[in-house]
């Protein structure tokens, strides 16, 4: 069953003039049909301003469609009486963890969400422990969040969402400000949650490498979903992606350059290891 199901979902931002009357509208999301299966890892790519964040904000009902519908775990996001439940089903992690971390000590911060859900304190601490362990930050539980590195802060922010045990987590460019190690840490953390805890993941990113292991990739362009498929399928379309202001993983790019020079490499190579293996085969053939 689809945990997220959007039909002809559109969203228009209203611009108001000085008197507060509607002046113009911007159609940020335009007729999107979206189906995400429970337990899937879905990546969303798209140029700046293509509507990714606007779409993401619909999933935990920060925004509701101006046209069309969105159902999260069977609940209509337009139904205000369901908002509480929807927000417990779908948690959001933003690009900048500073906007998300409120506690002065790591474990307090992570406990904030469950506490707000009215859980008894013993159960809260159990969840805090589980969530911090899940992101590998348990040993930092007594630290002050503002003393942590960017990658560590981001993992605490993820733990804060995990502690609410959502079935689905939406991450909007969670690695944009991280160093290579921090980026790997966060992606690994999210992949583990997906594999071990079967959390449904929607990851928005401009880093093509982070998408390689997704079950499905969705490409947005000017508010519309224009491509959908497995990473292998999507990254076989190098020219189309470039025309949409996107890119392919570095290994795919090297393979593509070599293909252009006449090397008979297969399409859809995603990793350096795969590329090295294919090159070895070629060398063997030449003997």
């Amino acid at each position: 069953m689809s945990i997220i199901r959007g039909r002809k979902l559109s969203y228009e931002y209203q611009r108001l003039d000085e008197e507060g009357n509607p002046e113009s509208t911007i159609r940020a999301v335009d007729g999107v049909d979206l189906d995400v299966q429970e337990g899937d890892f879905v990546a969303i790519l798209g140029h700046n301003g293509s509507g990714k964040s606007t779409l993401a904000k619909h999933i935990n009902a920060i925004l509701v469609p101006t046209e069309g519908t969105l159902y999260v775990d069977g609940k209509d996001t337009r139904d205000e009486s369901q908002i509480w439940e929807i927000r417990q089903t779908a948690g959001m992690v933003f690009q900048n963890p500073d906007n998300q971390i409120i506690g002065t000590i790591v474990d307090e911060d992570v406990g904030f969400g469950p506490e707000n859900m009215g859980m008894p304190s013993e159960a809260i601490w159990k969840r805090v422990e589980e969530s911090l362990k899940a992101v590998g930050m348990w040993e930092y539980r007594a630290h002050s969040p503002n003393k942590l590195s960017g990658g560590q802060k981001q993992r605490v922010a993820i733990a804060g969402v995990v502690a609410m045990r959502p079935k689905c987590i939406v991450l909007d460019e969670p690695t944009a400000m991280l160093d290579p190690n921090g980026r790997k840490e966060v992606v690994r953390t999210v992949q583990e949650l997906n594999r071990k805890e079967h959390v449904t993941v929607l990851l928005i990113t401009h880093y093509m490498e982070e998408v390689i292991e997704a079950d499905k990739v969705i490409v947005m362009d000017q508010g519309k979903v224009v491509m959908q498929g497995t990473p292998k399928e999507i990254f076989s379309h190098v020219e189309e992606l470039k025309a949409r202001r996107l890119d392919v993983p570095q290994a795919t790019l090297v393979a593509y350059e070599l293909q252009k020079k006449g090397l008979p490499l297969p399409d859809g190579i995603l990793s350096m290891a795969e590329l090295a293996d294919e090159l070895e085969k070629l060398r063997g053939q030449r003997g």
């Binding site: 140029h47 590195s149 960017g150 400000m177 160093d179 290579p180 093509m208 350059e257 090295a276």
Partner: protein
């Protein structure tokens, strides 16, 4: 003509429980016209360091010279320094505060005392350069997407036409085409106007592609300061401090380990492809 940093130390919240020694005895010379990359793990002191270049932060000890003069001297014209050394912040939100994008980009040149027509011409040029379409110019910065905000913040500094352009992770949040376009434009400015460019980045691929010199920060100290090839030769040490070599470098090492005569110093896609073709006798 250059920037010179001598024995620079910086301590945040000195004497409190939150004291943090963010820069330790940093010595650097940044001659005019170089294209320099600064890399380092999160919290290594990159942003702290570059905020010293235009006098936004004042060293706890040590000195910074701009064109031979110590900027910490009494009576030094800080305002002029800030117009010559343009700094684009890591978070564009810190920089955007006017009612609309166009006024925001005009703010810098207007503050330099330039007439309105020159100010506006510069703003238009800068906005085109960063690829922000005219339909966004009258929007409030709050109505922009993440990448659009980033572009507006870069345009605001370009409009001041600084001699030294310092960019703190300018491509974070940009789509891949936007990233390449903006870095290409900056390289063009560097080549045509001979300005100094200092680029802080977490993308080893971007750094390898554009800069001629890399400064590696580690826990507040300069760890390496050399050409990209030399620096990325130390990729194992870089990994130890949370960094990496550009991805193609790993491919070349992998091939070399399998007995190929691959160029393990290759750091860009073009260099890697050329070396592979050569190995295959193409």
């Amino acid at each position: 003509m250059s920037i010179k940093i001598e024995h620079l130390n910086y301590v945040y919240s000195e004497g409190t429980a939150f004291e943090k020694h963010a820069l330790r005895d940093v010595n650097l010379e940044l001659p005019d016209g170089q294209f320099i990359g600064v890399i380092g793990h999160t919290g290594s002191g990159k942003s702290t360091l570059i905020q010293h270049l235009n006098g936004l932060l004042k060293g706890t000890s040590g000195a910074v010279y701009y064109n031979g003069r110590n900027i910490y001297e009494e009576g030094y014209n800080k305002k002029e320094l800030r117009s010559k050394v343009g700094l684009v912040f890591q978070y564009p939100e810190y920089q955007l505060f006017e009612v609309d994008v166009f006024s925001d980009v005009c703010y810098g040149p207007k503050n330099l005392g330039l007439p309105a027509d020159v100010t506006e011409a510069r703003a238009r040029e800068a906005l085109r350069l960063v690829g922000l379409k005219e339909k966004h110019w009258k929007k409030s910065p709050f109505e922009l997407s993440g990448g659009q905000k980033r572009r507006a913040a870069i345009a605001g500094i370009l409009a001041m036409e600084p001699d030294v352009l310092v960019l703190d992770e300018p491509t974070a949040g940009l789509d891949p085409k936007g990233r390449d376009d903006i870095l290409d434009q900056i390289q063009r400015l560097h080549d045509e106007r001979h300005i100094t460019v200092i680029l802080v980045s977490h993308s080893m691929e971007d750094i390898a592609r554009y800069v001629e010199r890399i400064i590696v920060m580690n826990r507040g100290q300069v760890m390496f300061d050399d050409t990209p090839r030399e620096v990325f030769d130390h990729y194992r040490e870089l990994e130890q401090i949370g960094l990496a070599a550009p991805q193609v470098t790993y491919l070349m090492h992998d091939l070399a380990a399998r007995g190929w005569q691959a160029d393990v110093d290759a750091t860009t896609v073009e260099e890697a492809a050329a070396s592979i073709l050569k190995c295959l006798g193409r």
